[in-house]
């Protein structure tokens, strides 16, 4: 029997920074400033490097700890 593989694509993004970018594109605004967004992307990269996980949700509390 053939296997049917259903891939569910998250259109709003895999990471917080992707979601925030998409919110901006859709005219919702963003919950982060541009600097915070940059730091968020930085943390996501660190997270991916450490764990290999493509999905992540960085909390603003953690962004405040980036210098």
């Amino acid at each position: 029997m053939p296997e049917i593989i259903i891939k569910w694509k998250l259109k709003h993004g895999k990471t917080r920074s992707e979601i925030e970018q998409n919110l901006l594109k859709e005219g919702w605004g963003s919950s982060l400033t541009e600097e915070q967004l940059d730091k968020c992307s930085f943390l996501e990269k660190k997270w991916k490097d450490q764990t290999g996980a493509e999905y992540s949700r960085i909390k603003t509390k953690d962004i405040y700890k980036v210098k």
């Binding site: 919702w28 919950s31 541009e34 660190k46 996980a53 603003t60 509390k61 980036v66 210098k67």
Partner: protein
């Protein structure tokens, strides 16, 4: 080696302090748009948003994130997002680790100001009550209902509920009365970061009916008034243990009057440290700015950049 004392990560460099942030993906992401969403929407896409915050909260499970779009503008401000049923917003006990995030950041992204949430007409209960632990409430503007009780945002810890370990971050609280912008009953491990308290008689009210709250972080907040007199920016009626407060700006004039109305921060039996806060007062004596019942004060500044004297 990093020389950043309170930084988890050195921006652009190697990690400092190891893997301590919560980078794991949580639950589903929901979207709420009061003006353009619908009652029947799935809420899982930006293009298919729900029209009610409470509906999204009720639909979402543990670890969910809910993004809320600001409403359309009326003159300069977005209109209030109010509940569509006759009860104010609440995150029930089972909704642990839920994130409720407003979008829009004022001048940073000029297309939209912060999402402004308000209470149902006529209700005096808080605009938002958190009964579940681990929640994040982020980037909203909020004002109290008329004759508000229990503040604008309220967390509770008692025999039934545990609203502790909650983070309030990047919110704007306006015109709170003596019940506080944020009102916390016995909740532990709270993080109050980067909020603005404008014209609030009390910014953060901490009470201890069930137990004395402990392990609190209050940082990067901004307290100010344009008229009237602040009672206290931070007011812990029954004590507060292991407080860490840093880099807050207390821009209002120094409160006057009797206890606690002559301190920026007032706490009964307490412990912890206030470090690097700025006070809009000419008084340099720490004991005149904050009650120091066990709280150490260090590296704080008064007006004109003068160092507050710890003793």
């Amino acid at each position: 080696m990093s020389t950043f004392p309170d930084g988890v990560y050195q921006y652009g460099g190697m990690p400092v302090g190891g893997k301590v942030f919560d980078g794991m993906w949580g639950g589903q992401v929901y979207f709420v748009d009061y003006d353009n969403g619908t009652e029947r929407a799935g809420g899982l896409k930006i293009t298919d948003p729900l029209n009610d915050i409470q509906a999204a909260i009720d639909l979402a499970g543990t670890d969910a994130t809910i993004y809320v779009r600001p409403r359309v503008f009326s003159s300069e401000d977005p209109q209030q997002i109010t509940p569509r049923t006759a009860e104010n917003f609440h995150i029930d006990a089972a909704k642990t680790n839920m994130s409720l995030i407003g979008t829009g950041k004022g001048l940073s992204h000029a297309a939209a100001h912060k999402a402004w949430i308000g209470g149902y007409s006529g209700l005096v209960t808080p605009v938002l009550t958190v009964y579940a632990p681990g929640c994040v409430i982020e980037n909203f503007r909020a004002q109290p209902p008329s004759s508000a009780t229990y503040g604008i945002f309220y967390t509770v810890n008692d025999d039934t509920y545990d609203g502790g370990n909650t983070t309030f971050i990047s919110n704007d609280f306006h015109d709170a009365n003596s019940t506080g912008g944020i009102n916390c009953d016995s909740t532990w491990q709270m993080s109050i970061i980067g909020n603005r308290f404008v014209n609030c008689d009390i910014g953060i009210l901490i009470r201890s009916f069930y137990s004395v709250p402990q392990i609190w972080e209050i940082s990067h907040n901004y307290f100010t008034v344009t008229t009237g007199e602040v009672l206290a920016d931070v007011y812990a009626t029954g004590g507060l243990k292991r407080l860490v407060a840093y880099r807050n700006i207390h821009a209002a004039e120094q409160p006057t009057g009797g206890d606690p109305n002559k301190y920026y921060a007032f706490a009964a039996t307490s412990s912890g440290m206030i470090a690097g806060d700025y006070f809009g007062a000419y008084d340099l004596a720490a004991a005149n700015l904050c009650t120091l019942n066990g709280v150490n004060i260090a590296g704080c500044y008064s007006i004109q950049g003068l160092v507050v004297e710890a003793s």
